[in-house]
Amino acid sequence: MNKTIPELDYTPQMVPYPEPTPAEDKNRVHYLNVSDTVWSWLFTLDHKRIGILYLVSVSIFFVFGGIAAALVRTNLLTPTGAILELDQYNKAFTAHGTIMLFLFLIPVIPGVLGNFFVPMMIGAKDMAFPKLNLLSWYVYMAGAMFFVWQLFVGGLDTGWTLYPPYTSQYSHTNVLYAGLGIFITGFSSILTAVNIIATVHKMRCPGMTWSRLPLFVWAMYATSLIQLLGTPVLAVTVLMLATERLFGIGIFDPTLEGDPLLFQHLFWFYSHPAVYIMILPGFGVISEVIPCFSRKNIFGYHAIAWASVGIAVVGFLVWGHHMYIAGQGFYLGMVFSTLTMLVAVPSAIKVFNWVATMYRGSIHFAPPMSFAIAFLFLFTIGGLTGLHLGVLGTDIHLHDTYFVVAHFHFVMVGGMLVAWLAGLHYYWPKMTGRMYNTFWANVAAIVVCVGFFLTFAPQFILGYNGMPRRYPHYPEEFQILNILSTAGASIQAIGFTMPAIYLLGSLVFGRPAGNNPWHATGLEWQVPSPPPPHNFEQIPIVYYPPYEYSIPNGLKHVVIHSLNGNGVHSSDITPKHQEVTSGS
């Protein structure tokens, strides 16, 4: 056993376990109270405030998407549609899909936690391009507004996948406006990605080498790579679809010798990596939460870091697994299936590493950890059922059935949304300076997990039995499972409403959280909560690897020292022999 515990390659500085936080200083200036006009919020250049702007907006759009989901699930209570007409149902599920994907899942963690914490985690005072950051929020809001507006003037009924010829020639709904909304929000994605990559490359504090980056930063970096490369292709595809709809010349029109499958290739070239855009930041959060609440180093830091990059790269090569029965050809299907098997491996590696982190740890069941455990449970199921769909033979029967619906909800909701909640609960004290009621938060985690499982586990059975997707009416024999599913959805809805109540309540009633309520390592936990406007009073210098929870008495990730402002390039600091000098 001793073999697996490596020798320390640096001399740890013995730092006493964190002192109890001093009483809240009401006169302290932080990023929230430094100015309180509406103007200062709407024209802020502070990445933290931009993170809060994103938080408010994605939460609102999440509610819209949730309402659409409620409409869908309620309608499915009876085999002939309980509350909606056929075309209304089609608009409801399209609204649910497009809002949840484009307006919630893609921007949520990069926009909120990425903006807020990436600069802090690397010891920077802000993102590389603060004005671009603000612009990306405005672009997001502009696209979202277009999108939401078209919902109220007729809606979209093509499904979020927008396949022609239906979308280009047959649908009578707001394809062009929705397409414009999607096009514009794509730019927000791109701008955030440019910002994060430039920040991580150029603005790390001295001593923060790539091997010392928190895994959340690695995950955000990988996500940004995908956003950068994939989103433009969606933009140009939507543009071509709009052109097709306006002029009808036959880019995708088979009666004019166009090819509808070309659209599918171009669309999925983005939309598959898009799901990795959604899940990788969630992975990053889990990598932060599990070591903290197991009080133990992350197991396999490099494996997890490289797995993130590996998923980003291989994720671009598997888009054809959405088209196995669309007619793309046998050999192409084989290629994509092989690569899909390959891309499944890094995710499995991560899950194993996280569980191994818990091995011989000292596990505290704080709310972030409860959500992380729910994540491990639900995401594992979701990821493994992806295998049924990635294998050529089994996909024949399961394609476009509720099996697919169950699979992607397990990974996106049970995986990503639960990870987002874990991150929200982990970072809420840091962002707001308030601690919420951890008992109710743990209850909410359980309610969400149980409700979610009840909603989507029956859908695996429905899918295997052949119930197709996007059906407002279905055969009678499927009704019981659908009722179970809707019951679960109601429980989920309660589970999602609870955090809104106690988190917002904490702003009024919560006790001050202090710098580091979770006793976490990481630069972001070394500054007061809420953080000062420029993050750090002094530029930190990093000497130690992250997640050093296992050192006796708990070692901090960094020792903050003052510099004379000239800036020391991080490669100038060598880890082993640098003496810790007192400030100059």
Binding site: D126, I190, A198, K202, P232, V233, A235
Partner: protein, 270 residues
């Protein structure tokens, strides 16, 4: 390099020093250009798929385009890439007036490109080379009696294309003229996107010209902003270098067409 370049210019608060700021800005613009490559790349991918499937039709479509204007436009853009680089150099050397001059020349060259492009679009519209499903009334057949066939109505586009190809001396047997509309759709999409990018670029150049007028570039270290714009401008130029062979050189051309194209552009031919 020059000792005065890296000091005396204000550094943004979140950067440690000017070098870091410049590095970050440069990385930022290159990252953005990667997305632009993917953006045009997606459309070019679709174009390539159809070109492989319908080679004859795409050659025919290319033959109907005005290579004269395209040739002149290429030279204009290449020259403008040179002048914008000269503007960067001028700022680096601290010569504000020269910065304004070169930026101005770049704007003029870019605008000339757009003017010629607009003329080319106008000629295309005039010739009827616009994708549409409009039909023209069928000609009545003069034969009656046994086996007389009624002439099918013709597409307006097909008629225009026949005229244009006849004018260009391109043989049209074996070419499905209706399908050539696909080529023209891509032509308008690709060149249209390029035009939009050029408009943005000229707008930004104009903004920087304006800034230069008011002394923004008195700090030589601020060359970085002109460099960023010049990198974007070079990219737009590069896209054109790709579009030129894809669209204009897909079919056979000869030098006479360049001349006749230019004559047409300036209204000197019938």
């Amino acid at each position: 390099m020059a000792a005065n370049v890296h000091d005396a210019a204000p550094v943004a608060h979140h950067f440690n020093n000017l070098q870091q700021q410049h590095d970050a800005i440069r990385l930022g613009i290159w990252l953005f250009l990667v997305t632009e490559v993917l953006f045009f790349g997606g459309a070019m991918c679709a174009y390539t798929a159809y070109r492989i499937w319908f080679p004859k039709e795409f050659e025919a479509g290319s033959a109907a385009l005005n290579v004269g204007i395209a040739s002149v436009n290429t030279f204009l853009l290449l020259a403008s890439s040179l002048t914008v680089t000269l503007a960067v150099r001028a700022c680096y050397d601290g010569q504000q007036k020269l910065v304004q001059f070169w930026l101005g020349v770049t704007i003029i060259l870019g605008s000339l490109f757009l003017a010629l492009k607009a003329r080319e679009y106008y000629l295309d519209f005039e010739e009827g080379l616009v994708p549409s499903r409009k039909l023209v009334s069928p000609q009545q057949s003069s034969m009656i009696g046994e086996g007389a066939a009624l002439a099918a109505p013709k597409y307006a586009f097909v008629q225009s294309l026949e005229r244009a190809l006849h004018h260009a001396g391109y043989p049209t047997e074996g070419v499905d003229l209706f399908r050539v509309q696909l080529f023209f759709m891509f032509y308008y999409i690709l060149t249209g996107l390029h035009v939009i990018h050029m408009l943005v670029g000229i707008g930004l150049l104009g903004w920087q010209f304006f800034l230069a007028k008011f002394g923004f570039f008195r700090y030589p270290a601020r060359y970085i902003y002109i460099e960023v714009l010049s990198v974007y401008w070079h990219f737009v130029d590069m896209v054109w270098i790709f579009l030129l062979p894809l669209l204009y050189l897909a079919g056979p051309h000869h030098f006479g067409q360049v001349i006749s194209g230019l004559q047409q552009a300036f209204g000197l031919s019938q």
